[in-house]
Symmetry: C2
Subunit: 332 residues, 2 copies
DNA sequence: TTGTACGCGTTATCAA
DNA sequence: TTGATAACGCGTACAA
């Protein structure tokens, strides 16, 4: 094939094959009826000319882009990139193109991603971003873009959702610690870290109050190194506790700080990671965690979105329940 | 704003504003000249009607999609998702949409991603995937899509590249181990794990031969758990060695297997990770590694691609040199 | 079975 | 400063 200056169009194919462009179109899309020999002829010319239909023109003509948007805060979190990977796999299978938008936890970028999603005329969007809430998703709906929302509970005409079930399990773990455990529990609060953490924090407080128990809340940064430093300081005085942290990195910071302070995990210090990833079992001692398969979440969200696009989504809510993975950073 | 059945077009804006669609177009693009008051009027109508221009139609008309493709094997590797995140940030700044394609280490999927990239009429592509090599990138060029290739050294008319510098450093580390170290070195070979690992393996062998030294090569799977099991077995007999592993997970598997076998790191067992990530410093003992900032690689690749698209890329090759980060899994 | 003609929503050229 | 009008590359009734 020679070096093409610009793209071959359907017209050129039609001319070279001595047919009309309608026939070429039929061949491309396997639509209508076309005599076998002309079809073969057209296919041969297509190959010779190296013709590739323009997805843009097709999308414009059919009003379907066969592309979807994914909005996430960042690809730098393991659980999020796992989810993203799940989406890409289904996209690949089903022939969708995936447009990726990140917001870096900024409301401004989140809003601009909404604008871009609408402009790009995707067939639908998967949102896994706490910067975006119900009114934003309805805004998307007004521009006729269906939405699957992960980690939120919003169901409307063209909005499906995948909420996560952590509350029951958290309650069970906390109450179990009341019975069998020997440490006061501390919730590691990360500022501006989203709905999920807030929900769990509220549940943490609620369960403690219901049981008339004392608890702690400590603030920390969403960074391994700073959290590590903070806890090195903390462990100089306070040498016992059960800590509930958001992610593996944060949990690991606490575990490492404890170990480096001469404390024993889980005898002196227990640590629970809320969002477990494969690193939960790699870090030593391995981290007890609340596991959800985010790759599966990604796949599922994409399947739901496809159904939603085709008006075939019967169950608009599909809940993922977390599972307690007992490792060696907690006693029970 | 009311619920819109379908998208508002430029025609409807023009009619409602009592101007021609050409004027609306000028307002949207800030092109040509338009009297301030009509401009204001048009803008008001645009807001009232909630008009958002169709990116598809714009792309078709201008022959510019302001979108780029990114081809990677998977988003499940930390260093790759870091690179991906770097790309997304620049895309966001510069107003590009990012189309993500994954290949799962499959030649078939890689080829299909090429087809999709061409069909989608992206303005350019960033390739960080060992399934794709020079002929594939030239193929893309033939369809006038510029390419930035990461971890490869191919420079042509419309192909730029970001190669990685590991060889010098590896040589230095190995030779340093000859002088000061006390262990035979073992290269942990992962089947079908790509060019980078092969290059380093070759360098590893070469340096050993040049120095007339013995070495080992062992095979392992690209999985933490299987590698861990393999090394648990291995450490039953062979209780000393310096291991060079591809990624943090693999290095961690070896370290954990050693520790769990009653061996001491780095006294009995030394481990070096080739591609260090933030987990290198989280895992205990922390893992010595060859560091490259992949987020920066992603950003840089996108800047290069933009220049390449605009025919302004003067240096078609930009090399990232790895840096040796000494941690506690090696002695020196 | 094939071809004609129009529509998809823009940009861009050229007159007015 | 504005407004027709022709691309852009394709899908699709409808007619032949």
């Amino acid at each position: 094939m020679e070096n093409l200056k610009d793209h071959v169009t359907i017209y050129e194919v039609a001319k070279a094959a001595n047919v009309s462009l309608a026939t070429v179109s039929r061949v491309i899309n396997n639509s209508g009826t076309v005599r076998p020999d002309t079809k073969e002829k057209v296919l041969r010319v297509i190959k010779e000319l190296g013709y590739k239909p323009s997805g843009l023109a097709q999308a414009l003509a059919t009003n379907k882009s066969t592309s979807i948007g994914v909005i996430i805060p960042s690809a730098n979190y393991v659980y999020i990139s796992n989810m993203l990977n799940g989406v890409t796999e289904v996209c690949r299978d089903k022939g969708f193109t995936l447009n990726l938008y990140t917001t870096s936890h900024s409301r401004e970028d989140a809003l601009s991603s909404l604008e871009r999603v609408i402009k790009s005329r995707v067939d639908g969007v998967i949102v896994f971003d706490d910067e975006l809430d119900a009114p934003d998703l309805e805004f998307l709906n007004n521009y006729s873009v269906p939405v699957i929302n992960i980690n939120n509970k919003i169901c409307e005409s063209k909005i499906g959702c995948i909420p996560f079930g952590y509350e029951h399990l958290i309650k069970k773990i906390i109450e179990d610690n009341f019975v069998r455990g020997d440490k006061k529990m501390t919730f590691v609060h990360v500022h501006n870290s989203g709905r999920l953490l807030s929900r769990i924090e509220n549940q943490f407080i609620k369960v403690h109050k219901e049981n008339d128990r004392e608890y702690n809340i400590v603030n920390c940064d969403d960074s391994y190194h700073r959290t590590y430093q903070d806890f090195i300081e903390r462990f100089k005085k306070d040498r016992k506790g059960y800590f509930i942290a958001y992610r593996d990195s944060i949990a690991a910071a606490i575990i490492n700080a404890a170990t480096d302070s001469g404390l024993t995990v889980p005898d002196d210090i227990e640590v629970l990671s809320i969002i477990g990833t494969k690193y939960s079992s790699i870090i030593r001692p391995s981290i007890s965690n609340l596991y959800i398969d985010f790759q599966e979440v990604g796949k599922c969200s994409m399947y739901m979105l496809i159904d939603l696009i085709n008006d075939r989504l019967t169950e608009k809510e599909y809940k993922f329940e977390s599972v307690y993975i007992k490792k060696y950073s907690t006693k029970y």
